[in-house]
């Protein structure tokens, strides 16, 4: 057997066959501990879901309407979701300070789920036990598929997640404002092709629930619009090194790169693109998921003219005169894409509570929402329509470009 080589400055731990009292670990122990560590870290990204919750829809009591919010205030998307939550709470506080909803005060139970499905499940079970009227304010695509079975069983409406949940759309308790990210991107592609010409497309996705369906939507949209679909790449959220994916894209010379990622992952991959001197020939296309400062602040100025994203809410640059802007300012919350969305979402929730007939219960809120036909429930969202069979309320989307480091409206999709 070949003798072990030793580096010039390697320290040998044992040469004398005298047993040492000093603590020493075997490699086997290290392996075991590494696996323990791996499990600990992996546990942070595991998803679990579970049904079974008590209750069949809840009601307001003692002049209080309780809403549950499970949202990532920390973790991988905390920088986007935390400000959104602050904005929602600011609007609800404003509602309370101006008399509440039909005299009832709103009680908001906000719980951090750190962008973890299991944490969101724990929070949601607590909401069910608490008999909240509705759960709202979620932000992210990992948690909704885990939360939805609990809320569906409990008859609690799940209102307006800022995220994608393609498996939730058949649930009667699931309501969302914006179309699924896949739908947004599929609508954006023909619009972009018409504007800048057909071309070849690569899509990068964060490996979140529903990502495969979104990729499929994009692939179909590209083909239907006369483009060429080159490749799709998927990365776990929080991937440390995006350079290999950038190098693969660079080798394909795509005209368009579609980013279906968390804003943080999109920021990291865009930074890697800049570091590798790579940009798509024509555009970087994203959905509402990245129409926010967390992404834009990490985009190099040279890429700004290529960025095109969809959004269901107004651009902050166009919202200066809204009531949201003044409420946020009074609350010390900076006006941005996500805070505007948070405030607007809270406005829609408030309107739904106001429209509930009789006492405010989970079922009366659902009935009220299903009766909406072109209701302008928020100044930052387009008119909203729900039916018993369609629980996606917004059918038109803004298209944003970037000018002077800010998102500006450059077009509109849908009705």
């Amino acid at each position: 057997m070949r003798p072990h080589r030793r580096s010039r400055f390697a320290l040998r731990s044992s040469q004398n066959p005298i047993k040492q009292p000093r603590r020493k670990l075997t490699h086997g122990a290290f392996a075991a501990l590494s696996l323990v560590l791996a499990v600990l870290v992996a546990a942070c990204s595991s998803a679990s879901s579970s049904g079974g919750a008590a209750g069949l829809g809840n009601s307001a009591s003692s002049g209080t309407i309780t809403l549950g919010i499970s949202v990532p205030l920390s973790g991988a998307v905390g920088s986007s979701c935390g400000p959104m939550n602050k904005a929602m709470v600011a609007w609800f506080n404003h509602v309370n300070s101006t008399g509440g909803v039909h005299g009832a005060q709103l009680k908001i139970d906000t719980r951090d789920d750190a962008y973890q499905a299991d944490e969101a499940v724990t929070n949601t079970r607590a909401f069910a036990a608490e008999h909240v009227v509705a759960v709202t304010g979620q932000c992210g695509s990992i948690q909704p598929p885990a939360q939805m079975p609990i809320l569906q069983a409990a008859g609690i409406p799940y209102l307006f997640v800022f995220g994608s949940c393609d498996t939730c759309t058949s649930d009667s308790m699931y309501f969302n404002l914006m179309p699924d990210y896949g739908v947004q991107l599929a609508e954006a592609i023909p619009w972009v092709f018409q504007k800048n010409g057909k071309g070849s497309v690569v899509i990068m996705t964060s490996a979140t629930p529903g990502a495969a369906a979104i990729t499929s939507n994009v692939q179909t949209a590209v083909k239907n619009a006369g483009g060429t679909f080159l490749a799709s790449y998927s990365t776990p959220p929080g991937t440390a090194d995006m350079t290999p994916f950038v190098l693969k894209m660079k080798a394909l010379h795509p005209d368009y790169v579609v980013l279906n990622m968390t804003p943080q992952d999109a920021a990291v991959v865009t930074k890697a693109m800049t570091a590798q001197n790579f940009a798509p020939n024509k555009n970087l296309i994203g959905s509402a998921a990245i129409s926010q400062a967390t992404y834009l602040s990490n985009v190099a100025a040279s890429l700004d003219p290529k960025v095109i994203v969809t959004s269901d809410v107004l651009a902050p640059s166009a919202a200066g005169n809204t009531q949201c802007a003044s409420v946020l300012k009074a609350a010390g919350v900076p006006l941005s894409g996500v805070t505007l969305r948070g405030c607007g979402t809270a406005q829609v929730v408030t309107q739904a509570l106001k429209d509930a007939k009789g006492s405010v219960t989970s079922s009366s809120v659902v009935s009220a929402l299903e009766s909406w036909d072109g209701v302008k429930a928020s100044e930052v969202y387009p008119p909203i329509t729900f039916t018993k069979t369609n629980h996606i309320g917004v059918s038109s989307l803004y298209v944003f470009g970037v000018k002077n480091g800010q998102f500006v409206v450059i077009g509109q999709l849908g009705n």
Partner: protein
């Protein structure tokens, strides 16, 4: 082929960072007898302190220098508060390091985590040198330089300083070194004072490209651990070789197999190494008298 070369170059760059963290892990293992699994999060926590100093209005370089000084104090504090009391039993101490790992992540979430991840200011020059279709960024080249400087400093310390000789003595025969009058606990504390700023340097090199968050070091720590095992847990130079191997493999796997399998590939290499070559590529067998 051009793509493969580019990916290998990129893998070497990330591999050196992995190697540097692995180096810190092994250095602590050799000088204190315990590999501190919290070392990644120690660097993360210190990077948050630097960021807070920067936000308070300090120039980023001043913030970094202050951060390095603070990190030395943190290293000493961790040794005295977490590692030193009743320090008997390797399992006990290892569990402490895992506890510290979780505690630091939780504390970072509480104190700094409200709006994470944060955009960390770029400290190094942008751009780089083209090599085929790949670009070797200046930050990657500076990482290489930092790794070389750190390695050279450690070689010099071990060879030419009394402290280095004492570290070697402790690493080889802690009990005998203690009997001969070496202050082993003092040396362990110094090891932490050296390791904590190194962990900060790794975190500072990563933060600008990967954003600053409480989980920013998690995957890197696992890769560093795998690199340490591949290189041989007793070899400091092996950590860099192991880091480069892991870095190149994870990038090749991400490119040609799928990004989801990068971590699995690194752990598989680690397990295969343990099975086929238990002491790693550069490690030495540990012989004990029964």
């Amino acid at each position: 082929m051009d793509l493969a070369i580019s990916v290998v170059v990129s893998g070497i760059a990330i591999g050196l960072l992995i190697g540097l963290l692995s180096f810190v892990l092994v250095f602590l293992n050799k000088t204190t007898g315990i590999a501190n699994f919290a070392i990644g999060n120690i660097g993360m926590f210190e990077a948050f302190i630097v960021y807070e100093l920067f936000l308070s209005g300090l120039n980023i370089w001043v913030a970094v220098l202050l951060g390095l000084v603070i990190s030395m104090a943190i290293g000493a504090l961790i040794y005295h508060v977490v590692m030193r009391p009743f320090s008997r039993g390797a399992a006990n101490l290892l569990v402490r390091t895992v506890g510290l790992y979780l505690l630091l992540a939780a504390m970072a979430d509480v104190f700094f985590g409200q709006n994470q991840p944060y955009t960390f200011p770029n400290m190094l020059p942008q751009g780089g040198i083209s090599l085929g279709s790949a670009v070797i960024s200046w930050s990657d080249l500076i990482t290489v330089a930092i790794v070389l400087v750190v390695a050279a400093l450690f070689v010099a310390m071990f060879r030419f300083t009394e402290l280095g000789v004492q570290f070697q003595a402790v690493a080889q025969r802690a009990a005998i070194a203690q009997l001969l009058g070496l202050r082993v606990r003092r040396l362990s504390m110094i090891a932490y004072i050296i390791a904590a700023p190194l962990a900060l340097i790794v975190a500072l090199l990563i933060a600008p490209s990967e954003l600053l968050s409480s989980s920013m070091m998690d995957s890197l720590l696992l890769y560093a651990f795998a690199a340490a095992v591949v290189g041989g847990f007793s070899s400091l130079v092996g950590t860099f070789v192991g880091g480069i191997i892991i870095g190149v493999v994870i990038d090749l796997v991400a490119t040609y197999v799928g990004g989801d399998l990068s971590l699995a590939a690194a752990l598989a290499i680690m397990l295969l190494t343990l099975a086929a070559r238990p002491n790693g590529l550069f490690g030495v067998p540990q012989v004990e008298r029964l």
